[in-house]
Symmetry: C2
Subunit: 87 residues, 2 copies
């Protein structure tokens, strides 16, 4: 399945969330990652991320699609994901 | 079509990009908006956003799907989009 993840978390937890998410997905822009996961990997990602978050403060969104076949992706401006400058 | 938009732009242009994007989409989290658009609205959104951006610095990603029928959405932590506290 194709997964998009966005996180908006407290400063203290940013590096940890990003590090965990990158074990599963590819970083593409500030707070956004994407990738192709198996359903089992997807569940595992959610469990791992949930462990880090402060539930009443942080927010993580996960969109998943069975296929990326019907998807288009437009980039206006710079394609950040090509330069791997974070962590 | 179902559209997801993420922006990562210079501080000076954040408010303007957000204001423009909100004419078309719903803000759901820090730098993320989503919504259902016609193909014509989608093209118009891209044109409007492009006018604001500094092409060699800013980055805007637009994902589009013909339908949101095969999509799942998980929220871990807080659902920010329900509280409309930005601009």
């Amino acid at each position: 399945m194709f997964v998009l993840m966005f996180y908006d978390v407290g400063e203290k937890r940013v590096a940890k969330v990003l590090k965990t998410a990158r074990r599963y997905l590819t970083w593409i822009q500030n707070s956004v990652l994407e990738g192709e996961l198996s359903p089992a990997q997807f569940e595992s990602l959610k469990v791992d991320v949930k462990k880090i978050l402060k539930d009443d403060y942080d927010s993580v969104l996960l969109y998943a699609w069975r296929t990326e076949r019907y998807m288009t992706k437009d980039i206006i401006g710079v394609e950040r994901g090509t330069v791997d400058f974070m962590i």
